[in-house]
């Protein structure tokens, strides 16, 4: 895919719909559960039977306050539930209960980290220096509002499920509580967009508001995209790409749409306000519906619900119970454990990872080494096994004692790496495993001298080379000694012994 030329910049605003972690639905006692048979979590309220009335789930208010405080926003003392009226088969009441003019949360922000020089330059791809941690800078993204609303059900048009060309409706999702979180148009690249989404998702998970699992549809994104010439004050005409359900889709769809708009303008055309669909197979956006034909939702305050009043004392109580947020934790990791900004960022991407690191570091007594093990080895295992930290048998106790063994010189890093996968899979006691496999480091001078003598004797010509002033084969000899010791020899001592014996 070609990139947007330097002359232009993207202007992006995101609307995120995130399912809230509640036992029951927003206005009905039906349980919120995933993976149930269709229509097995449906109360008369969800069916919109004649005579039913909605009752607000107070847990949702709690979670909305948590989000508001975590994004530095105002939690409004009074907000109003409104009806958004439209007909669709998976919308049983013929209206969605949402918040319109007066949302529960307004005026917040979220800081994201963007690559230095990477922002606002179109795709920003290929800027990463290979292997090195990228240089990051902070950028603040405004959050206009967050409001409470209910999800709709699902219409199923699949003939295999419906059994005919009829459509089927599953109302399990109807009434599931959502927060819609709307950003300001402060985002300038597809990478910033995903950085914002990752940051938001991380907060939502930290504060227990949402599992925000994109695959389960718990975290969905609509992107408003326009382009303009760099330096222009006015925004271009924007389009809205609906229902993006993976980070890759978000990035690709935004780029595809920006380029579509660019090509349109280059060809002398004009961008028209529209709702766009994104086809991930073809990596293309296409117009679904023109905005000028858009529905009139006839919003009005829902007379079945009273205004939502939130007492300042309640807000303060929630504030008191908020866990440490990602940005606070990152700053603390940098100062408390002398970690790099990059490592601190990686370790605080999720609350569980941060907690895992911190507990391990306490047990190992070596925070920097622990950070290396977690960011490198633990994350690699997670990636390879495609699982979550909780799925591993590895605990902070196990990893902590493993690192401690290395720090004490009782286990070489190489041998530690050898038993690590087993600890990840089966758990167990690293020290016992080390002893059982005979991997305890040999630091006894006599034993090491024995291995060194053996290697020198067997490699006379190589030894001669070193004596002639070529240091290169030293590593080879090191390796031979390590091999002879079955990896157990303490490398520092081996190096010392080799140098002494060869050079005299």
């Amino acid at each position: 895919m070609s990139a947007l030329p330097e002359k232009y910049e993207m202007v992006i605003g995101l609307e995120v719909h995130t399912h809230l972690k509640t036992e029951s639905k927003l206005f009905s006692p039906a349980p919120v559960q995933y993976g149930l048979e269709p229509n097995h979590s449906v109360h008369p309220i969800d069916l919109a039977l004649p005579g039913v009335l909605p009752v607000l789930n107070e847990r949702v208010v709690e979670l909305a306050i948590r989000l508001g405080l975590s994004i530095h926003a105002t939690v409004n003392p009074l907000s109003i539930f409104a009806r958004k009226n439209y007909f669709y088969p998976d919308l049983p009441k013929g209206y969605q209960i949402s918040q319109f003019e007066e949302p529960v949360v307004s005026d917040g922000w979220l800081d994201i980290e963007v690559e230095v020089g990477g922002a606002g330059n179109g795709t920003g791809k290929g800027k990463k220096k290979k292997g090195a941690a990228p240089e990051l800078e902070r950028k603040r993204i405004g959050i206009t509002r967050a409001h409470i609303e209910e999800d709709a059900g699902k219409s199923i048009h699949d003939i295999a499920i419906a059994g005919s060309d009829d459509s089927c409706i599953d109302l399990n999702r109807a009434g599931v509580p959502l927060l819609e979180i709307v950003s300001e148009p402060d985002i300038r690249s597809a990478q910033e967009a995903t950085a914002y989404l990752r940051g938001l998702r991380s907060i939502l998970r930290y504060i227990g508001v949402s599992d925000a699992d994109m695959e389960k549809g718990q975290f969905r994104c609509d992107a408003n995209v326009s382009i303009r010439e760099r330096g222009a004050k006015e925004f271009g005409t924007r389009t809205e790409i609906k229902n993006l359900n993976s980070f890759t889709s978000v990035e690709d769809a935004i780029e595809a749409e920006a380029i579509r708009q660019f090509e349109l303008i280059e060809d002398g055309g004009e961008v028209v306000q529209a709702t766009m669909g994104y086809d991930p197979e073809r990596r293309r956006t296409s117009v679904q519906r023109l905005k000028e034909n858009s529905d009139d939702y006839r919003y009005f305050p829902d007379p079945d619900l009273i205004p939502l009043r939130i007492d300042p004392a309640r807000i303060e109580a929630v504030r008191g119970e908020l866990p440490e947020l990602p940005e606070e934790k990152r700053a603390r990791f940098e100062s408390e454990y002398a970690l790099s900004a990059y490592d601190a960022g990686v370790l605080t991407a999720s609350r569980t990872l941060g907690d895992f690191f911190e507990e391990t570091a306490k047990l190992s007594g070596a925070p920097k080494q622990t950070a290396n093990w977690v960011t490198r080895d633990v994350l690699r295992e997670l990636k390879e096994r495609e699982c979550e930290l909780e799925d591993l048998a590895l605990t902070p106790e196990i990893l902590g004692s493993l690192i401690k063994l290395i720090e004490e010189g009782r286990l070489t890093a190489r041998n530690a790496a050898q038993i690590f996968p087993d600890l990840v899979t089966d758990g167990g006691n690293p020290e016992a495993l080390m002893v059982e496999r005979g991997l305890e480091a040999v630091s006894d001078v006599g034993a090491i001298d024995g291995f060194v003598d053996e290697v020198i004797a067997a490699n006379a010509d190589v030894v001669q080379q070193v004596r002639d002033g070529d240091d290169k084969p030293l590593n080879f000899l090191m390796g031979q000694v390590m091999k002879a010791s079955q990896g157990k020899a303490e490398p520092g001592q081996v190096r010392k012994a080799l140098a002494a014996k060869i050079r005299g």
């Binding site: 005579g51 909605p54 607000l56 009441k93 009139d296 006839r298 009005f300």
Partner: protein
């Protein structure tokens, strides 16, 4: 007349005593009620009957009563529900083709409470479709008739409940009141009808017309009967967010017969000669004089925004109705058009075939007043005027304890007289809608006849003060005999 027949015609208090004394059993009383409903089928007041279930329930009630274990004052007493108040396993057509075959799987809160109190629900009453109307002519069950004169309307929308109580089919029935739908038919049929304070009675299980105005209330032949039924159905309900938390006072105890020193406000805007039937005005003035003679004081009050009440009401009620009725879409329950071509066709035809003309008129009007560009001018402005109307009452109640007015400007009109003229039909709610807009309790009770037809006296109370209007209404009954007047027996 057998003992069960005469007991059926008595007040609730007398029925309770008669049942407890064994003058008749609940089964006999329920049988008498079912027989009388059948004999008065020409009224079209009752649209579905629970004979087998009601008989079984009354047998159980008879046993309880014989054992001296009556559940409540209503135990074993036959009652009727308006067809928009749901009962599990029973139809709730709301007089609409779109719900013709609908059976509710759940109970309304009031249904639950009445059943728990031992009341025997013998059937369901006719109404204007979705409670939209003032005559019970907009109904798939056919127009209901006024027991006083079958060529006249019984009022609406709760006309079936009013006619049934007036004709002595049951001592008590429930209705709903959005703009006068309990008080206006009570007035037309010469019975007592009470619209409680908004939020006093749970709306859970009441098929919504206009959510911010709807309220369930009782019909009876005596004020004290309505008070007893209100006590039974009122109270906070967690299933209705708009139900008020305040506890219901003991209303029976409030009815002492003593109204000495109470101040009655007479809104000057309601006592105008123009547009009011002279006989109506005369009966209401006589009633006020009677109350004065018992020691009540009378003071003029003003409700300056009265002229805007009808417009305000119809903007708000239709807006809410247009949204409340969106759920009747032919998808999950209710009428679905045959052989539809696509989704649009399914909606269009199911709703076109399912709704009657008046309902369509109000959906169209309500959709219009909520649409972009018109919202502020109509719905927004109506809400602001509603606030002014509420303030009018707050101000008036600074100088009086209750307000007394005619319930309607005229007695029951002829069937068909207004059905071609929606606006004149809407104007028959002129005295009743303000209590809905302001959320106030309102009672209508008979105060005599005009040209042989009953006239209703309306008593409007302060918010949550049903006790005062019930006390005054009960005192008025003690001073007069208008509540004893019965429509002629034609069968």
């Amino acid at each position: 007349m057998g003992s069960s027949e005469s007991l059926l015609a008595a007040s609730l208090t007398e029925q309770r005593e008669g049942l407890d004394r064994g003058d008749a059993t609940s089964s006999e009383l329920v049988d008498a009620s079912l027989a009388r409903i059948a004999a008065h089928a020409d009224l079209s007041a009752v649209v579905s009957i629970r004979d087998a279930a009601a008989r079984a329930e009354s047998e159980a009630a008879s046993k309880r009563i014989a054992d001296g274990k009556a559940l409540s004052v209503l135990d074993g007493v036959p009652i009727l529900l308006k067809d928009n108040i749901v009962q599990a396993g029973e139809p709730a057509t709301c007089s609409s083709r779109i719900l013709e075959d609908f059976v509710s799987p759940y109970d309304a809160t009031v249904t639950e409470k009445l059943r728990a109190a031992g009341a025997i629900i013998v059937g369901r009453t006719n109404m204007d479709e979705f409670a939209m109307g003032s005559s019970t002519e907009n109904s798939i069950h056919g127009e209901a008739h006024n027991p006083w004169d079958r060529s006249r309307a019984c009022g609406g929308s709760s006309g079936g409940s009013a006619a049934a109580v007036a004709a002595g089919l049951v001592p008590l029935a429930l209705g709903s009141d959005t703009g006068g739908s309990i008080r206006q038919p009570a007035s037309f049929c010469g019975v007592v009808g009470l619209k409680p304070t908004y939020g006093r009675v749970s709306r859970w299980g009441l098929v919504a017309f206009a959510s911010s105005l709807d309220q369930i209330g009782p019909f009876g032949r005596r004020v004290s009967d309505c008070a007893a039924m209100l006590e039974m159905i009122a109270g906070h309900d967690a299933r209705d967010s708009t139900s008020v938390p305040e506890a219901v006072p003991a209303l029976g105890a409030a009815m002492t017969g003593d109204i000495e020193g109470l101040t009655i406000g007479l809104p000057k805007e309601y006592f105008v000669e123009e547009g009011v039937e002279p006989g109506v005005l005369a009966r209401v003035r006589e009633a006020i004089a009677t109350l004065e003679s018992a020691g009540a004081k009378v003071t003029p009050v003003s409700l300056p925004h009265t002229e805007h009440t009808i417009a305000t009401y119809y903007l708000i009620a239709t807006a809410e109705a247009s949204s409340n009725l969106a759920r009747f879409d032919g998808v999950r329950y209710g009428r679905r058009a045959d052989k539809v071509e696509d989704l649009q066709d399914l909606y269009m035809r199911s709703r076109s075939e399912g709704f009657g003309a008046e309902v369509k008129r109000r959906i169209v009007l309500g959709t219009y007043v909520l649409s972009a560009g018109y919202y502020d001018a109509y719905y927004g402005k109506a809400q602001r005027v509603r606030t002014l109307i509420r303030r009018d009452f707050e101000k008036a109640f600074e100088s009086c304890d209750l307000i007394v007015t005619p319930t309607t400007p005229e007695t029951a009109f002829g069937l068909g007289a207004k059905s071609g003229d929606p606006l004149s039909m809407y104007l028959s709610d002129v005295y009743t809608v303000s209590a809905n807009l302001a959320g106030l309790p309102g009672l209508s009770m008979p105060c005599g006849l005009s040209d042989g037809m009953p006239v209703g006296l309306q008593l409007i109370g302060k918010p949550l003060d049903e006790a005062t209007i019930l006390r005054v209404g009960d005192a008025y009954e003690r001073l007069t005999e208008h509540h004893l007047a019965r429509p002629p027996e034609t069968n």
